[in-house]
Symmetry: none
Subunit: 232 residues, 4 copies
Amino acid sequence: MARPATPAPAAGGEELTRGHKKKARTRQQLLDAALRIYARKGAGELALNELAEEASVSNGTVYNYFRTREEVLEAVGIELAVQLSHQIAMVSEGVSLGAQRTAIGVRTFLRRASADPEWASALLSVVRYAEGMRSALATYVRGDLQVGLEQGDFRFAHEGVAMTLVVSATMGAMAAIVDGETVEGHDSIVAEMVLLALGVTTTKARQIARLPLPVPAESPDDGRKMSRGPRK
Amino acid sequence: MARPATPAPAAGGEELTRGHKKKARTRQQLLDAALRIYARKGAGELALNELAEEASVSNGTVYNYFRTREEVLEAVGIELAVQLSHQIAMVSEGVSLGAQRTAIGVRTFLRRASADPEWASALLSVVRYAEGMRSALATYVRGDLQVGLEQGDFRFAHEGVAMTLVVSATMGAMAAIVDGETVEGHDSIVAEMVLLALGVTTTKARQIARLPLPVPAESPDDGRKMSRGPRK
Amino acid sequence: MARPATPAPAAGGEELTRGHKKKARTRQQLLDAALRIYARKGAGELALNELAEEASVSNGTVYNYFRTREEVLEAVGIELAVQLSHQIAMVSEGVSLGAQRTAIGVRTFLRRASADPEWASALLSVVRYAEGMRSALATYVRGDLQVGLEQGDFRFAHEGVAMTLVVSATMGAMAAIVDGETVEGHDSIVAEMVLLALGVTTTKARQIARLPLPVPAESPDDGRKMSRGPRK
Amino acid sequence: MARPATPAPAAGGEELTRGHKKKARTRQQLLDAALRIYARKGAGELALNELAEEASVSNGTVYNYFRTREEVLEAVGIELAVQLSHQIAMVSEGVSLGAQRTAIGVRTFLRRASADPEWASALLSVVRYAEGMRSALATYVRGDLQVGLEQGDFRFAHEGVAMTLVVSATMGAMAAIVDGETVEGHDSIVAEMVLLALGVTTTKARQIARLPLPVPAESPDDGRKMSRGPRK
DNA sequence: CATGAATGAGACTTCATTCAT
DNA sequence: TATGAATGAAGTCTCATTCAT
């Protein structure tokens, strides 16, 4: 499902009529609440009535937006994917080296997991269920892999396998972080190992993995949607 | 666990008489049934009613073996872990090179995932629930990592991080296999990437990852679901 | 415990194992409760949770016996049909004249409707929904019609149409009775009209419709299942 | 909220006209939609949400026309009754013989049930709910019965009982038709039986029941209200 | 120990009705 | 008036768990 990063300002399929921003607001309440619950208990545990309560909304209202648990998952997945798109695009903007972009991606995820374990927890739990989310991630990774391959830094036998490795290694490290494991320079260590796995030479891998991360052009509302804790 | 009515023929290994055997058998039926259900629908979905039916047992009987649903999950995790232990120990028995043992471990998992996707599916779904299961895995991996490090083949910055990477990369590849991805020489490709990530040199990694897998000393009851361990 | 594959030792369709009469008792509670509710509010209104409460049974128990509202309806329909079978068989036993049997049937229904409007109300409301019930009724009526035809008393153009007329006229009259209409000799009046409709001559119709009703061999538990009002 | 049947006709004759027309049209849309739903699923199932959608109107709008679900049911009943009045009046206009009028009424209903089972289905399902509807029917029937009695064709013991019989026999036959029973000359057969039940002599009943039905003075808007299928 | 009916908390889902726009 | 989002009571249904036999 392509579903471009743009939430659709003028989108043909959806309605965005004038005064009716209440609907959008409620929907956002629901997504936020879902993320909070995922962070706490994992996506498998989501109960729609619980979602209603967490979103301070009546029981039936949920059904104006989602008919099943899966639909919530899917919507949250898309929501997170959009956020990630912004995040990644912002952070590796201007970097043209595939290997470096890959490292930046990996490290950014791990940094954020340290800074915001709830976000990480929600992400991990959603990733398992939402197909749309996985493919969004994959697209980014795949692009960097191809660039790195063309630039001669990467040397791997199968792109799909390589992609899976990058994603799963990153997620695994995030899970460790969420579980409380703290390691000095965690992000660089993982990034270096991933680069090595992709065929980067020892010295280059070490060097790239330790470059200072570019500071993203921190837009004011970045991360807006997730950083709050439970409201009550 | 003193069962008064039990015959209890004076301390001896022979006391595994009928009653005990039957008891063990029922317990094993339950675990087997649980694994089948996991493979079909994921561990989150296990319903004890369904479990009872799958095991051809009445629903109340389940509670003679497990006090709660949680206990079932835990027991199944342990069961799988024990199976894994045997599998791994058997397969890398007699191999002393840490790097090779690691590669064998990774490849064995992936091979089995291809050969028995239901098993893989059950394993993946349990791994998320049972903590005890993860540590069982970790123990094996950690040993090999340390050996490889001492032998000078590995060069990594942090053992815990390395361990997480090995496990998560393997699991990620298994998930891909379960999802239907088929790649020529999948197991070797992944093993090579993992070795590279652990600091093995390019040529050595490639060579080790492609060694023929030792045929396990096929014991007659190999693969049989074991563990007649009495409940606690 | 033998745990035999055969749950039913002898019984044809249902199980009737020894100690387990509790199940039968609960089922009966539910049917009784359903009839009481039908009498009060019509079969369309039956709520399964309400049924549970009326039967003094937990909410989930209902689902051990019926999966849907329709299944309750069907079961109640059959229950009523069985009761009716007894009733009718008992009352027109020994009467061989088809026309007379028909009249007796009609009149018995109307008499009972007067005596027990709750029963009538339940019957009317179930009849609309339960197919099984209708066919049970139909069988009786059809038999009498055929006999009457052979005996030369009836003269109608189409048996199915005649049957429908007998049943609907009787039900209509019952509904009127339930609605409070009281008419001197109601049962005879209706019976006479029905006989006329079936082609019986004027004088014979009048005579047959006014014969004294045979007193049924009132068995002690007759009507047992319906006659009680709401228990609490 | 003022609920006057007529808002102030003060300002602007145009507003009055258009507004009123629209209002009446919307109301009619709702009634039509309700009848279509009745025909499909029975009156018990009418959901106002569904009604709104079937009428291409927003759900809140329904409440501008009816205060409660009950009112909708009632209004639909009346609507049908009015349609019936027209139908009956039209068809037996100019016929002065009570017995013949009765036969015509019965037969017309059955004919229409054959031709338009949806209409019949809606009618049958409403009859059970709307009291007002039954009395409308009754009025017509009663008139014909009295006429027939005075003319010496009928001979029945109780007018109320007779009326009930006529109505219920007709409805029963309609139900059979809706259920798919098709009989050659169904309408005449039923009419003849009904006449017999009312005391008409054998030969006369047969003759009257087989007279050709007068063709109604087809007014242009006859049947207007039911004949449309779903609009979209 | 095995059985399976009963339980009841809790989740799911619908829908008549209200109300701000 | 029209709209449609929100509400929440009421009903449906599942399932872990208990218990008498």
